[in-house]
Symmetry: D2
C-alpha cells in the first residue's frame, strides 16, 4: 500500500482545507494511506505529522485556513534542510508528497524532489495567482471576491463623501489580484507593478474624471506598486481632492473559500493523487484553458507568469 504525504506551506489560502480533504479521500479510494505534515516545511524538518483518514477531514471543506497549519520557512532553501526533509520522507516510507502552496512552496518542492526518491507533486494555492502555467490558483477567486465585497462597501463612503480612495490589495510582487479586483469593482484606476505609472498621468486622469462628472474615485493599487501612502499624499496635493488610503490586509487571505476555490481545490487534489499513483515525478497540477492538466514542477516555478495587460485597457474604457 502506498503512503502519501501532504503538506501546506507558505501563506495560507482559502481552499487549502478543501485540497487536503480531496487528497485524503481520493487517496483512500485508491487504498493509499495519508499522513499530513504539520506547520509547512517545519513538519518535514522535525518529523511532525498526523495520520489523516476520510473522517478526520470531515467538516473542513468550507473552512478557510489549513488544519495542517503552515509557516514561512526561509531556512528551507539550505541544503541541510532539504536533506533533513528527504530523510523524514524516507523514514516514513512516503511514496509521494503533495505540496500545497504558492510559488515559494513549489520552489521548495522542486529542491526537495532533486534530493529524494519520493514523487513530489505541487498544487498551486495562493491568493496571488502568480504561479506560472495555471490560469488560476486555489484561493485566488475567494480573495478577489473578498476584496470586491469590501470595496463595494468603501464605494458607499467614497460616493457619499465625494472622496478619492486608494485601496491597496495584496499580490506580493505581482498585479493579478489588483487587476481582477480593479476590473470587477469598476475602479477608476488600477495600479500594478508590471506597469510603470507617471504621477502626472494619474493626476490628469482624476481631473478628467471630475470633469466628466465623477465626484469620487476608487484607485485599486497592488501592494507591490510601492508606497501607496505617499501616492495618496501626492494626489491630494496635486488635485486638491480629499484622498484616503485603505489597506485591505489579511482579510483577503481568510474566510470560507468560494465555490470556485473549492472546485479547483477538489480537481487539483484528484489530479495530484492520480499523478502519484501513475508514478510521475516532479509535476505541478495546473488549470489551463479550462482544463486540469499538469506541467513540470521546474517549469511552474522557474518561469515568470505573464499578465494580460489588455485587461487594463478594457478596465480603463469600462470606467469612462
Amino acid at each position: 500500500m502506498k503512503i502519501i504525504g501532504v503538506v501546506t506551506s507558505g501563506g495560507d489560502a482559502p481552499g487549502m482545507n478543501a485540497a487536503i480533504r480531496g487528497v485524503v479521500r481520493i487517496a483512500y479510494s485508491k487504498n493509499f494511506e495519508v499522513i499530513g505534515f504539520e506547520r509547512g516545511w517545519e513538519g518535514l524538518l522535525i518529523n511532525s505529522f498526523k495520520r489523516l483518514n476520510p473522517r478526520s477531514v470531515g467538516g473542513i471543506l468550507h473552512l478557510g485556513g489549513t488544519i495542517l497549519h503552515t509557516s514561512r520557512c526561509p531556512e528551507f532553501k539550505k541544503d541541510e534542510a532539504i536533506k533533513k526533509a528527504a530523510e523524514t520522507l524516507a523514514l516514513n516510507n512516503v511514496d509521494g508528497l503533495i505540496v500545497i502552496g504558492g510559488n515559494g512552496s513549489l520552489q521548495g518542492a522542486l529542491e526537495l524532489s532533486k534530493e529524494t526518491g519520493t514523487l513530489i507533486v505541487g498544487v498551486p494555492a495562493s491568493i496571488d495567482n502568480d504561479v506560472f502555467g495555471t490560469d488560476e490558483t486555489i484561493g485566488f477567486d475567494t480573495a478577489v471576491n473578498t476584496a470586491v465585497t469590501e470595496i463595494d462597501k468603501i464605494r458607499d463612503t467614497a460616493v457619499s463623501l465625494e472622496r478619492i480612495f486608494i485601496v491597496e490589495v495584496m499580490g506580493r510582487k505581482r498585479g493579478f489580484l489588483a487587476l481582477a479586483v480593479g476590473l470587477t469593482v469598476g475602479a477608476e484606476m488600477i495600479l500594478i507593478p508590471e506597469v510603470n505609472y507617471e504621477s502626472e498621468k494619474i493626476f490628469q486622469t482624476i481631473r478628467e474624471a471630475k470633469e466628466r462628472g465623477k465626484k469620487s474615485a476608487i484607485i485599486v493599487a497592488a501592494e507591490g506598486v510601492g508606497d501607496n501612502r505617499q501616492l495618496a499624499n501626492e494626489i491630494e496635493k496635486a488635485t486638491e481632492a480629499e484622498v484616503r488610503l485603505s489597506v485591505l490586509g489579511y482579510t483577503q487571505r481568510g474566510g470560507n473559500p468560494s465555490a470556485r476555490s473549492r472546485f479547483l481545490a477538489s480537481l487539483f487534489a484528484d489530479k495530484a493523487v492520480e499523478l502519484i499513483s501513475e508514478g510521475q515525478k516532479s509535476r505541478a497540477v495546473v488549470f489551463r484553458d479550462g482544463k486540469i492538466t499538469n506541467i513540470g514542477l521546474e517549469e511552474s516555478c522557474k518561469t515568470e507568469k505573464p499578465i494580460d495587460l489588455s485587461l487594463l485597457e478594457l478596465a480603463r474604457v469600462l470606467t469612462t
Copy 2:
C-alpha cells in the same frame, strides 16, 4: 454613427447590469449610440426604450437584477411578434442588437435575426449555465456561490440535529447548477435530470453513510429531477431517518454579482460590441477553454450542451 440596441430577456441573472454597463461604455468608446429596450422582448414589441450613455450606467456594476427590467414573453415565438420587433429595430435605425439572456432569449434572437437586417449578437446570461458553446454564462458563478453559502448554513442544522436534508436548487431542465453546488458543498448525494436514479440506491447510499459514521447528510437535487417532496417522504420511510426538504428558490437569481460574473459580463460586452462593429451577423459570444470567442447564434441555441458526468463520480468519492 452606429446605433446599438441592448435588451435583457427571460429570467434575470446577476451580472446583467454589468453587461449593460459594458455594452454602453464600450460602444461609446467607439462613438456608437446605445438605446436600451425595456422589459425584454416587450420593449421591442411596443417600442419602449431609453437612451443610455456612460453616466446612465454608473453605479450599477455591482447590482443584481437588470435596470432595463426583463420579462418572459411566450408570444415572441409567433411570426407577427418577430415582425413587429424587426419593425421597431428599423424604425429606430438600430444597426446592431445585443440580446442578453438565456437559452430561450437566444432562440428569440435567432428568430429575429432571420427577419431583420440588424446585426444580432447573443450574450449568454443565465444562472442555469445551459447555453451550448460556453463553459459559463453570466450569473452562474453567483448563483452557485449563493446556493453554497446557504447550504453551508443548512449543514449547521443538519449536523446539530443529525438529519438528512434534500436541498433543491434551480437549473430548469438541466443539472449544471446542482452539480457545481453539490460538488462544492460536499453533498453526500447529487441528483440531476441527466442521470436516472433508482430510489433503492439512494436509500442504500444513505444507509452506508450512516454506517461509516455520518449522522447527517445533504442531498443536492436539481429542480428538474422531479418531485423532491415525494422523494423526501420516500427516504424517510425507507431509512427511518428524519428528512427535510429545503427549496432554495429565488435567492439564487438575485444579489450582487460575484467578481467572476462581473468579469465575464464585462468581457462578453466587449466582444459583443466588437462583433457588431465588425459587421458580423447572428453570433453568440462565448467563454470556451479559458478564452472569450464567438460561435453562430444558431449553433448556440440549437445544440444541447453536454454535462461532464465524471464530476458526479468525483463528488461521490470526495464525500466518502
Copy 3:
C-alpha cells in the same frame, strides 16, 4: 467544587455555541466543572455527556449549530422521562443545569426542576424570539439578518421582472421574525398569525400599490399564518399579477451568529452561571429594557409573549 451541566435542546439557533463557550469559561473562572449532555434531553435520558473545559470550547464562538448537538424530544413530557433525567443529574452530582433552548425546552426544564434538587436555569435561544420576558432570544438577530439578506436578493428579481413575491419566513406559531424581517426589508405587506387578515384587503393593498407606481411587491408571511401557497394563487387570480412563493426555510436556523447573537449568548451565559453559583432555583435569564436580568422559569414559559402591533402600522406607513 461544583459541577455544572449544560444542554442544548429543541431547534438549533445561531449563538448556541457562543453560549456553551460562555458557560464553560465563566464556570471555570469560578472553579466549577462542566459536563455537556449530548443530543438535547436524550443525553439526560441515556446519560450521554462529555466533559468540557476552556480548551474544548475554543474556536466555536463563531460557528452556527451546537457542538453538543440537539434534538426534539416529545417523550420528555412524560413523568418517567423526567424522572430518568433527574436520576442522571443525581448520578453525576450535577449541582446546576443550564438549559439552552426555546419555549419547549424551557418547559422541559421547568418540569425537570420540579423533580430534582439540581438548580435549573433556562437560557432562551430560539430564532423565533417567542419566549416571554426577554426582548430577544439568542439567534433571533442572526435569523432576521439572514432573511433580510435573502429577501434583498429576491427583490432584485421582483423589481426586474415586476412580480409579486410572497416570502415565507419561520417563527412557528408567532410573528416576531416576520414582523422584524418585514419592517427591515420594506415589505409591502406583513402577515403574522397574531393578526387576522382578509384576502380582499390584501388584494386591495396590492392594487393600490400598483396605482402608486409600484410594479413589484414583497409580502413577508410568517409560516404560522396558514397556507401561503394558496394565498399566492388567490392573489394571482384577484389581481392578475404574477405571484411567486419563496419559502426561506432552514437557512434561517444556521450560519455564523451575528455579533448581537454572540453578545447576548455571552451575557446570558455569564448570568446563568452566576445564578447557579448564588443557588437560585428555577430561573430564566432574560434581556429586558436593555439589561440582562432573570425571571422565574415558570413565568418565562407559561406566559404568552405579547407582540408590538404598532410596528405593523409603522411598517405600513414606511412602505407607502
Copy 4:
C-alpha cells in the same frame, strides 16, 4: 402644510438612507413636505437641496451611504456659517429640520437651534456609538458585524500561521466599537482609549495565553488607543512572536445596513417627525433601555457617554 428639512452630516453610517426614507414617508403620511439638503451643512450654507417624496426614497432602504451625500464641515462652528444656515431655513420656510449624524453633527444642530426658530431634531447616526443618551446609534450594529466578519477571516490566518494579529477598528476617540467587536470575536485582548494599558501587562497576557496552549491571538485595538504599529513592534520584540497589524479601515463605514440598523433608523425617523409635528424644540431621539424616546439636544451632545467597563472583564474571562 408643514415643510420638513432633512440633512445627513459628518461621516456616513449604514442606515442613513433608511432614516431618510423613514423621515420622508412618515412626513408625507402626516401631509408634510420634505426637502433634503445636500452634502451636509454645505447644503444649508449654499441653499442646495432637492425635494423628496415617497417615490424618490424608494429602493434605498438597504443601501449604505446617503443619497443626500454628506461632508465634514469644520467652518460650521463659526457664527456666520450658523447664521447663513438659519437664513436658508427661513428662506425655504422650513418648519423643522432633522439632522442625521454623529456627535459633531448634533453639536452643529444645537448651535443652529439657538440661531433659528426652526424646530431642530437630532437623529444619532454614527458607527462610533459615542452619542450620549442613546444605547445605540444608527450604523453601529452594521459596523460591528462588518468588523466581526472580517476578523473571523483574519483568525483563519492567525490560527494557520500561529501568529498574533493586532486588528485596529474605528471609533474615533472612544472604544465602543472596539469593545463590542472584541467581545464578539473572542479577542484575546481589547485595547480601548478609556483604559490605560501597560505594555508589560500586554506582553504578560500574551505569554500566559501561549502557556495555556494558545498559539495565535487576536488583539482588537481602537484607533483612538494610539500608535498600534508601534505596539505591534514592541510586542514582537518582547514576546518573540510574529505580530501583524491589520487596519480594517473604511469598510466599517459602508455596506448594506444590518436589520438592526435599519430598524433603529426607521423608529428614530418616526419619532423625529413626531417631535416636529408636536412642536418640540431642540430634541434628540434616542434608544434607551429598549425604548425609543428623546432627550434635550444639548444634553445629548454636551455629555460624555459612559462606557461599561465590566464588559472588558467579561471579555477577559471568556477568552481564557
